[in-house]
């Protein structure tokens, strides 16, 4: 470490001392990045050239001035996250343009016909309704149970039990959704038709239940963080006034962590909206609204399962594929809004509970 110590130089000195060759190397690197972007979009096989020049420029810069090169490279990495998100937005919109041109606002029309691919009718209403229903059911499962579980872990469980339960819950959050789907397909669906005499295998209700259970560990884990973040001084104050533990939880902890808890539930909702595999294997893929609308035991489609199940049929047709991209746009916008909302709520929580980090 001692060998790597260099004399301190102010930023201004460094700039004036920066040699021409460093500036040139930086310029070549930057140009390579731009060229790579352009070539990858237009002539991907030729994008190997800017990759090589970029590598050379970076290597030279690393050799001449490690600090500046490192800063530029890390900046590039940071910018890439924004670029990737931008590319996702652009490509989703661009690919869904065709169906917007065919359908216009009828994409969300409220009367049938909704989905007749042979007649180029692609209305997403049934799928949006399916997503709304499954998400509502999942939230009813994951929200209350998850928050109660978080309060148990954070406030009631003895410390030793907490040390086991918290990591266990986090681990369970990692069970892949296809495994839930496999269980749902082989166990929940048959059980539903046994108990409830369903005509068809698969229902929004069953899917909602499975997704709710799937989102449960995530909600618990995030909500637990929110509950733990409530400073002890606040509960101590309540307890000193002679409240019971439950009274202090109910009147101090829950209100103080309310925004964190809602952020946790929003996260769960986001996961439920975007959940694909479990719903895909459990549902019967019937692109029509349930009749009557509130029949949660019906077999319709959600936005995600539409993409996953119809992709094979759509691959040869531009308009069909474009409709799937439109479903992707709706999903993306919904989830992005949820994430922004939970970000806003969390920021507000920080300012409420701030000063006691």
């Amino acid at each position: 470490m001692i060998s790597s110590i260099r004399p301190y130089r102010s930023r201004l000195d460094a700039l004036s001392e920066r040699a021409t060759d460093e500036v040139v190397a930086g310029a070549i690197g930057a140009l390579s990045v731009v060229a790579f972007g352009a070539l990858f979009l237009a002539l991907p096989t030729y994008s190997v050239f800017p990759v090589v020049t970029f590598a050379l420029a970076a290597a030279y810069g690393w050799y001449r001035n490690q600090g500046a090169t490192a800063k530029s490279l890390t900046f590039l990495a940071t910018a890439s996250t924004v670029i990737i998100l931008g590319l996702i937005v652009v490509y989703l919109l661009w690919k869904s343009l065709l169906v917007f041109r065919i359908m216009g606002l009828d994409l969300f029309r409220l009367a049938s016909p909704f989905w007749e691919t042979s007649k180029r009718t692609f209305a997403l209403t049934p799928m949006i309704w399916g997503t709304v229903v499954t998400t509502l059911i999942a939230t009813c499962v994951a929200g209350p149970l998850g928050i109660a579980g978080a309060i148990f872990i954070a406030e009631m469980a003895p410390p030793r039990a907490r040390g086991v339960v918290k990591p266990a819950v986090e681990m369970l959050a990692g069970i892949p959704s296809i495994v839930y789907g496999f269980i749902g397909f082989n166990v929940v669906n048959p059980a539903m038709s046994d108990y409830l005499g369903l005509v068809s295998l698969g229902s929004l209700f069953a899917v909602g239940l499975v997704i709710g259970v799937m989102a449960l560990p995530t909600v618990v884990s995030v909500a637990e963080d929110a509950v733990t973040a409530v400073p002890d001084e606040m509960t101590d104050g309540a307890l000193a006034l002679g409240t019971t533990d439950w009274q202090s939880i109910k009147s101090v902890v829950i209100p103080a962590s309310f925004s964190g808890l809602s952020a946790a539930v929003l996260l769960g909702i986001g996961r439920a909206v975007g959940e694909t595999m479990a719903a895909t294997v459990m549902l019967g893929h019937n692109q029509a609204l349930p009749d009557p609308l509130y029949d949660v035991f019906a077999n319709t489609e959600t936005l995600t399962t539409l993409i996953a199940s119809q992709y094979g049929n759509a691959i040869t047709r531009d308009d069909f594929m474009s409709a799937l991209f439109a479903a992707g746009v709706v999903l993306f916008v919904t989830v992005l809004c949820l994430s922004l909302l939970s970000r806003y709520i969390e920021a507000r929580m920080q300012s409420t509970l701030g000063g006691s980090t």
Binding site: T74, T81, A168, L172, G174, V179, Q247, G274
Partner: protein, 520 residues
């Protein structure tokens, strides 16, 4: 507080003691009934079975009747000041709401479905009863509102079950809904709801109502919920292990030498193998994850370094934060669509699914996971480290490289492991960009490289061909029946679960280890 004379105080204490132990018994009985009902729903006991030559629904009925009677009795005794209690004089809206909802659903269902009245009669009747129940629940003494409705509900359910109104062979077709509710599920569900209600009410009674009673009730509910949730999740894992482990470990044998041969894990699928295995899928998942790591870790960690060490808080960092959040929350199927539209046509002619595209798409998904955890790890390195280094005259990048990053490495690695656990189980994007049927042999990436004379000068047919992957294997078993029987699917799910949970276990364990080290 009920007033008591000094002379009668001891008698009252005795009575209170008896009442409280009766309430405790009712709690125990209710909890047992709940467990029985759960076992019944899970089909460990069938609804028409009998326990010790008593039919199950009779058993529910008797247990609920006893619990209900005890609950109601304790409530009445407490209200008439026979036993000592700390009940409040009124209960409040929060206690009234569930009572009102209970009345609404019970009266509504009974009047419309059992008695068969039309909407014009059952709707107003249910509404009037609900309002009355709500007023009672909010305004009456707490010991009454906490016990009477819930004990009464249990007695009602007990009567319904004992009188044989709802039997295991009973069915109900609600109009407009495509279901026929059978007695096999209705009986345990009713029993569960009623015993939950008496457990809650009796738990309050054990502490003599009031603040401590409410605490006992709430703790019972929350504790039961936590227990239920954990056992459900553990049960899920155990179920997959039970269903899949047998098939996955079939034909396992030692040797030659110290090696172990697990046919299901080490075989391909096809005619040449005695036991079809998932080795190609494992290799596929390995390469997908490896490629995603190579692509995403430098970008994620680099961005984390820039954001934590170089960037000034401002508009740029806000944009990056929003982008990171957006990438983090974007559904995996949308990544799949993006990969299909953006990457596939640029990598292979005709836009066929291929491994490289899968690597890139999974890499896109991994970037935000790595970025967020790495940034947290770098942020949590104490500023004292940086100050000490800078005080020695070390430059900024030197400080980052030789002080900050080494200190943050555990956190960064934990984040990477957890991220890998998440993307290894991803199915949706793989279906769109990387998977194509089940191949009999694993892809050979390392041997696939060769040089060409035209740009890009390096080619690898293995990277540009479709592959199988563990999660895709499970999906394929369901969707097409390809790859064998249901037991093959369970075994694949078991191997996938094992792989993913191992990543998570290692990741969480390392994090806890280093957290403890930091706290010390």
């Amino acid at each position: 507080m009920s007033a008591s004379h000094a002379s009668s105080a001891t008698i009252e204490d005795d009575r209170s003691g008896v009442a409280r132990s009766a309430a405790t018994t009712a709690v125990g009985l209710s909890v047992l009934t709940m467990l029985l009902a759960v076992a019944n729903v899970l089909n460990w006991i069938t609804t028409d079975a009998s326990v010790a030559s008593v039919a199950l629904s009779t058993l529910y009925g008797v247990a609920l009747a006893v619990a209900g009677v005890v609950t109601v009795a304790v409530g009445l005794l407490s209200a008439s000041a026979v036993i000592d209690a700390n009940a409040n004089d009124t209960s409040g809206v929060l206690s009234g709401l569930p009572v009102g909802l209970l009345a609404l659903s019970v009266v509504g269902l009974v009047a419309s479905q059992t008695l068969g009245y039309g909407v014009a009669i059952w709707a107003p009747a249910a509404l009037v009863c609900a309002v009355a129940a709500f007023l009672f629940g909010s305004l009456a003494r707490e010991d009454l509102t906490a016990t009477l409705p819930w004990g009464g509900f249990a007695l009602f359910v007990a009567a319904v079950l004992l009188a044989g109104v709802i039997t295991p062979s009973w069915t109900w077709d609600p109009r407009h809904l495509g279901v026929a509710l059978t007695g096999t599920i209705t009986v345990p569900c009713l029993a569960f709801a009623a015993s939950l209600a008496t457990a809650w009410a009796a738990a309050k009674a054990t502490q003599g109502f009031g603040a401590r009673g409410r605490q006992a009730g709430a703790y019972l509910l929350i504790g039961a919920n936590a227990l239920f949730m954990l056992s459900l999740l553990v049960l899920l894992v155990a179920f997959v292990v039970e269903k899949g482990a047998g098939h996955a470990l079939r034909g396992i044998h030692l040797g030659p030498g110290l090696s172990v041969h697990v046919p299901f894990v080490m075989n391909g699928a096809g005619l040449g193998y005695d036991i079809d295995g998932v080795f190609p899928a494992i290799v596929g998942t390995f390469w997908l994850v490896f490629g995603a790591l190579v692509f995403a870790v430098p970008l994620g960690v680099g961005a984390a370094v820039f954001l934590a060490e170089y960037a000034e808080r401002g508009r740029f960092t806000t944009v990056v934060d929003i982008a990171t959040d957006g990438l983090w929350s974007t559904p995996s199927i949308v990544y799949g669509l993006f990969g299909y539209a953006f990457i596939l046509p640029r990598l292979s002619p005709g836009g066929r699914p291929n491994v490289l595209a899968g690597m890139l798409v999974l890499g896109f998904m991994l970037i935000p996971l790595v970025l967020i955890t790495s940034r947290e790890a770098i942020d949590s390195v104490p500023d004292a480290y940086r100050d000490a280094s800078v005080a020695l005259g070390v430059g900024r990048w030197e400080t980052i490289r030789s002080v900050v990053l080494p200190a943050a490495v555990p956190g960064v690695i934990t984040g990477i492991i957890l991220g890998v656990g998440r993307i290894a189980g991803e199915t949706a994007p793989i279906i769109l960009v990387a998977a194509g049927g089940l191949n009999a042999d694993p892809i050979r990436v390392i041997h696939g490289f060769r040089f060409t004379s035209s740009p890009p000068f390096v080619a690898n047919d293995a990277l540009l061909s479709a592959t199988n992957a563990l999660p895709y294997q499970v999906y394929a078993v369901i969707e097409t029946g390809v790859g064998g029987s249901e037991s093959f699917g369970w075994a694949s799910a078991f191997v996938l679960l094992l792989v993913v949970l191992c990543f998570y276990a290692v990741g969480i364990a390392t994090r806890m280890y280093f957290q403890r080290k930091l706290e010390r």
